[in-house]
Amino acid sequence: MNGRPLVTAPPVARLIEAFHRLPGIGPKSAQRLAYHVLRAPRAEAEALAAALVDVKDRVRLCSRCQNVTEQDPCDLCSDGARDQGLICVVEEPLDTLAVERAGVYAGLYHVLHGALSPMDGVGPEKIKIRELVERVSRGGVREVILATNATMEGDATASYLVRLLQPSGVAVTRIARGLPVGADVEYADEITLGRALRQRVPVETEEGTAVEGGER
């Protein structure tokens, strides 16, 4: 374990090591978690172990939206109440949860599992772009909303997708960008503030008319 002396029983050390590999878990947290498991009732430990195995055995990617799911197609894709003509494209599965939390979107998703990162060698073939283009070309889609991150990689991915989707004739939109709630104008960068100003909306008709109100 990175040269640290082993003063604990090997099975505990192995568990600490396993926790330590998880993102955001340092050596101290790993120890705490391992000793928590050690002291916890057997049932709790078994539930954890089973959950870990299940996640590898039972979870796969939805053949339509590429989100992680137990059933294929996933619950969202097979939900008749959702607008089947809208696809919101996100980078990661967790992003769908964030969009769901916003509570204003009732269409489907497409998870890319990453963003184009040319300098790291992540090209179009490494993420689920082909799947999206095929899905759109099968028809029935009215609008594709690009909700990739507002980073260089997210923007690169979005503009590459615009390029690929344009021939299909489907409307392609990008989520607006502006100041997050609680942010100071003083600290805003010029790109954010510039777009926030260009895409400003009339105050009276704020509800749902952002696209018509602002300059696109």
């Binding site: 993102p23 955001g24 184009l116 040319p118 300098m119 790291d120 060698g121 090209g123 179009p124 980073t151 260089m152 923007d155 690169a156 503009s159 590459y160 615009v162 390029r163 690929l164 997050p180 609680g182 942010a183 100071d184 600290y187 805003a188 960068d189 010029e190 790109i191 954010t192 510039g194």
Partner: protein
């Protein structure tokens, strides 16, 4: 007491994730060369730094010296090169340029010339129509700045005088080979037009080079030679080059874009 805080201007070349919400920024600075610095919390939406530290931003920074990496404490974008971000053709080239600087440079004092070259090129990529030519000119100038100037005067193998036609370009050997030495390892045929343009790029400012009409075939040939020269100097593949190719493959004006439109 040693000064713990210092100020510098920089171009953000790239970022990578660090821990939960932080990033490590790779910066190119006029006085320190290529450095890495930690930006804490920039993946949180309310970060005051985040928008100022995106790749391909010219930024004024306040940094605090750290044990291994310095930490960015304040950042103010000076130029975000917005036109780059809106067009994938421009962005892909700019990323390629940033990757070259990232890989070909190191921490080094007084690299103002290279810094100027980088800024001028990024600025140019936001405005020019001769995108690929701007990248070629940058490759040539970067090679020259870093001591890898291709030899275009005499055959690099036998030192013979060079005629315009019938030569080869041998990146590994460091320049042009005469018709008699064209069997040199890695040598590729060099057309007279490409040879002339390579020489012109070594001697002339971009404004003059940009007036040259470069058709798709010549553009492709120049790209091949200069990419090889860059790869020979780096001894590794430049990853963003593939992306430039991928973008070009989807371009609605693919045929016209490779040189000046």
């Amino acid at each position: 007491m040693a000064l713990r805080i210092y100020r510098t201007e920089a171009v953000v070349l790239r970022q990578r994730r660090l821990g939960d919400a932080g990033k490590i920024c790779v910066l190119f600075t006029p006085n320190l060369g290529r450095i890495e610095a930690v930006a804490k919390g920039v993946r949180r939406p309310r970060s005051k730094l985040a928008g100022h530290l995106e790749p391909l931003t010219r930024v004024s920074l306040l940094l605090a010296k750290g044990r291994s990496l310095d930490t960015i404490t304040q950042a103010q974008a000076l130029d975000s090169f917005a036109p780059l971000r809106e067009e994938i053709e421009r962005l892909s080239r700019a990323l390629y340029v940033a990757e070259l600087v990232d890989r070909m440079t190191d921490a080094a004092p007084d690299v103002g010339g290279l810094y100027r070259l980088l800024i001028d090129t990024i600025e140019r990529l936001g405005a020019t129509e001769a995108l690929d030519l701007a990248v070629r000119w940058f490759e040539m100038r970067l090679l020259m700045e870093q001591g890898y100037q291709p030899n275009l005067e005499r055959c690099v193998r036998c030192n013979a005088e060079l005629a315009l036609e019938g030569n080869g370009f041998a990146a590994l050997a460091g320049g042009v080979v005469c018709p008699g030495c064209r069997e040199a390892p890695g040598s590729r045929p060099l057309s007279g037009a490409a040879f002339k343009l390579l020489r012109y790029m070594q001697r002339r400012p971009f404004a003059e080079v940009a007036r040259v009409r470069v058709d798709a075939v010549l553009g492709r040939e120049l790209e091949m030679h200069l990419r090889q020269a860059v790869q020979a100097a780096l001894d590794q593949e430049v990853k963003a080059g593939e992306f430039v190719d991928a973008v070009r493959a989807t371009s609605p004006v693919a045929a016209q874009r490779s040189g000046r439109r």
